[in-house]
Structure formats: structure tokens, C-alpha cells
Amino acid sequence: MGTYIARRLLGMIPMLFAITVATFLMMHAAPGNAIEAILNPAIKDPQQLQQQLLHANGLDLPLYQQYLNWIGNFLIGNWGFSFGQHTSVLSLIGPAIKNTLIMSILAEFFTLIIGIPLGLFQSRKPYSSFDYSTSTASFILFSVPSFIFAILLIYVFAIKLRIFPSQGSMGTGPGAGSLIDHIYHALLPAISIALVSLAFYSRQTRGAVLEVSRRDYVRTAYAKGLDEGSVFRKHVLRNAMIPLITFFGFDFGGLVAGSVILEGIFQYQGMGLLTITAVQQRDYPVIMATTVLFAVAILLGNLLADIAYAAADPRIRYN
């Protein structure tokens, strides 16, 4: 297992290289540049100042040289300085990751705590009226895009009832910035995500349990006289969880990446909103940093899914 993990981690390096090169080339393919975007065109001789600033930031060097400079600095923890927000990239990333993690862990919590038990209940009495109605409901929830839920939640809870904020990631006044305050602001976006993904989990759980219940070894377990409860716990549940554990691994990438769409709607200051703003402002250093972090999170999530798969299923060995 150790060598497998090491090999997979090494395998991420060429992938990250390819992604950063592609992002780098795309950013520089666009007309205009970061300096042009922030300079006031009314000042005296903007061209000259632009040239000076480009030179000072190393943006007039050949592209490969710029890339090598960037990667060298990135590896030693010097992630650069945001052109758009006039502060270091690291000081932007820190709070953004924290906000996104609060929102996505909350969403994941609702998803698992409701989605999996719902799927289990449905699968215990398949094709009953409870199963039929909740399965139809989760099919509808799964079909509707999360931004529609976001709009409805904002309308009901922020505008009509006025009990939740419609925007932002922290409040003002005493208690601002506390964990409770963060959770309070993250609740509506988290529920918007969770409504869609809990429907996904309940469908997958239901399907997996029904699939496993038909297997021969379950019939054998009943035949040797095990009671309903222990067959379900020891034979059905364990095997049905294998595919779900894999999905959970994939979710890990999403925990860091968050949801660009929902962070945009709620103006929630996480990684997604940071990326949107940076893309709009041609803020190269921020774009590079968020792209690398998203890629690392997704690649690690895939690896985690494979490791968890092997841990849950003793038949799977990677060496």
C-alpha cells in the first residue's frame, strides 16, 4: 500500500505540471494584462508606467522564464502578490479556504446525516409508499440545480422571514468572525448544496443495498439462521457501503474547491468567489494559486477514494 500511495503521489507531479502550464499559457494568451487592468488610463504617460511596472514584476520576460520564476517561487512558499486586491496571495487564500471548508463540511454533514439513513430506510421496504414517495422526491431534488434552491432559500429565509443573511461569510458587531457566526452565514449555501447531494447519496445507498440484498451470500446468511438485524449489519450494510466510500473520496476534492456557483450567488468569500474575482481581474498570481489548490485537492480526493476502496473491500489490493 505504501509504495502504491508513493507512486500515485509521484504521478500527480506531471499532471500538476501540465495543468499549471496550460493555465499559464491561457492567461497570457488573453489580450490585455494585469497592469493595464489596474492602471488609471487618465494619468500622465500611462504607457511608460505600465512598462515600468511590467518590468518590475518580471512580466516582460519571455514566457518560459516567467513560468520558471513562478514555479520556483511557488515551491518555496512565495505565492506572489495579488494585482487586484493589493495583498499577498497567501493572505487571501487562508481565509478563503477556511470559509469554503466551513461551508462544504456543513454541506457534507447534512448530506451524509440525511442522505444515507434515508436511502437505508427506503431500501428496507422497497416499493412501499414511503419508498416510492421519498424516491420520487429525491429524484426531483437531484434534478433541480442547486442555484435554484439557493434563490428559493434566499427568498424565504433571508427576504421574507429575515432570519438568515442573504450574502457574505461573516457578520458585523460583537461575535463577528466567531465559529457560530461563520456557520450562521454558511448555513443557506450549505443547505443548497446538501439538498442536491443528499438526494444523490440516498439514491446510491438505496440502489447499493437493494443490489447487495440479492446476492447469494446474503441468502446463505439467512439460510444459516442469522437474524434479520445481523444479516443487515454484517453482510448487507458493509458491502453496500463500498461504492459510497468511493463517492466520499471524490467529495474530498469538492470540500476545498467548494461551489463556485453558490459562492457567487451568496457572495460568500471562499475559494470559488476568490477565483471568480481573480479571473475577472486578470489577477495572474491568484488564478495560478487557486488552480493548483483545486487540482491538488481533486487529485488527492481521487487517491483517497482508491485507498478507501481498498480499505473497505479486502478483495482489492493495489500492489
Binding site: M15, A18, I19, A22, T23, M26, M27, A29, A30, P31, G32, F139, I140, F142, S143, V144, P145, F147, I148, I151, I154, Y155, I159, S166, Q167, V260, I261, G264, I265, T275, I276, V279, Q280, I287, T291, F294, A295, I298, L299, N302
Partner: protein, 303 residues
Amino acid sequence: MSTNISTTTEAGVTVRAGRPSKSPTRMALERFMYNKMAIASSVILLLIVIMSLAAPLLTHQSPTVQDLAHTDAPPGNGHLLGTDTSGMDLFARDLYGGRIDLLIGFMDMLIVMVISMVLGGVAGYYGGWVDSVVMRVCDFMFNFPFLLLIIILSAILNSTSVWVLIGVIGLTAWPGMTRLIRGLFLNLRDSEFVLASKMAGAGPMRIIFRHMIPSVMGTLVVQATFLFAGLIASEAALAVIGFGVTPPTPSWGDVLSNAMGYFQLATEPYAWVPPAALITITILCINFIGDGLRDAFDPSFQV
């Protein structure tokens, strides 16, 4: 089915008699017709399609002309659902917007299915290093910063036209479907009928497109339907965060995103409810149709 006279032979093979044999497509269609939800969804979807195609017959207002005397107006003055902040008629924009959303969803579905059938088919058929290369490209595309691509293309071309958006979504949305088709093909590559056509001397492209793809056609049609719904959602989602088609081109996502300010949500339901409802209903209908198709193509599913 109950009227069929079935006899079970000693080997346990059920032989149906009493009716002329039906093609699998015919049987699937019959099963689909039994699904009330899917039929109702097909009718509603058809109405939405007709509504957006026949938009000029349903309103005299243009979706792009600005009525500067009545900007941000409530319903009235010849504007059935009022106007947006630029004075454009919201009812007309809702009607015409469907054309853009359905066009983007449908074209991108075609693009994604073609790319995925070729790449997923080749990867699943050959396996080995071909498979590894295609899968690495998929991994790469999963991490591709596609928001950046939209911004850059629209900066180079000076606007995000519908076709730019179709291109960007189509070129970035295929990895998931490619993986799925590759998985289907990996299961098929060792089956007898593939072996038989290989021994008959068929080339890889003939085997992939004439033998393997038809045998998974049911699954592909179902997945393409769900993909269609997902792509319509993508268009709207991109518009909502400000990366949609350039105004004044009307699209449901664009109408919705222009009505999402706090005060508009609170006071102008006529501006945001119709596009939100149209997006939701369209996506739901397409998904119910996909669900009906899945049951219809599943031979083990009994009506």
C-alpha cells in the same frame, strides 16, 4: 404482456408465442408509453419547445429592443411581465430565451456524446496504453480552469456569443461521459459477439460503431438525456455568476441573473420566478423522460 402465451421449456428458457415478435426498440417504446410521468414530461417539454420556437407569434415585443420610457417597470404598458433595468420586455426574453438554452443544451449534448463515444470507445476497446493516455487526458480536463477559458475566449473574440459558450462547454464537459462509455466498453470487449466480429475480420472502427455502440445504445440514450438536462443547468449557472452569453442575447440564465439583486428578489417576483420556473420545469421534464427511457430500455423492468 399478460396476454402473451408463454411456455417454459425444460431448460428454463421462456419462449413467448402468440404475437409477432417485436424489435427491442418497439418493446422499449411500448414500455415508455406506460410511464405516465415520462409521457406528461414529454408533453410539457414539447410545449416549452413550441413556445420558444413560436415566440414571435406569442408576443409582439422584441426581446432585445429597449423601451427607455419604461425601464425596470412592473407588468403593464404592453409589457406582460414588465421590463428589466434596460427596458427590455421580460415576457419576450423568457420566451426567446428558451431558444438559447435549448440550443446550448442540445448542441453541447451532441458535441459531448461524439467526443465521448470516440475517446471512450477507443480507450475501452484497446485498453492498455491507449486507455491510460485517454484517462490521463480526462483527469487533466477535470482540473481544467474552464471559467478562465470562457473569459479568455470572450476577450479574444470581444464577446461571449452563443457559439463561443457552446464551444467552451462542449470542449470541457466530456470527461465524465468519456469515463462512463469507456467503462461500458471495457465490460464489452471480451464478450462473444465482439470476438466473433473480430474473427470475421472486422476492423476496430467497425466493431466500435457497428457492434459495440448499438449494444449499449439504450444506456447511451438515457445518459445523453440526463446530460442534456445538466448542460441546460450549466448555461444558467454560468449566467448567474456572470459568465453567460453577452447581453442583449436573451437566455433564461441571463434573465434570471439580471433579477437576482436583493430588492428585485423581494419586490419583482414577475422578473425572477418565470425564468427560474422555466429552467426548473425544463430540467425536471428532461430528467423524467430520461428516467422513463431507462426503465424502457431495461429488459428486466416489468410494466
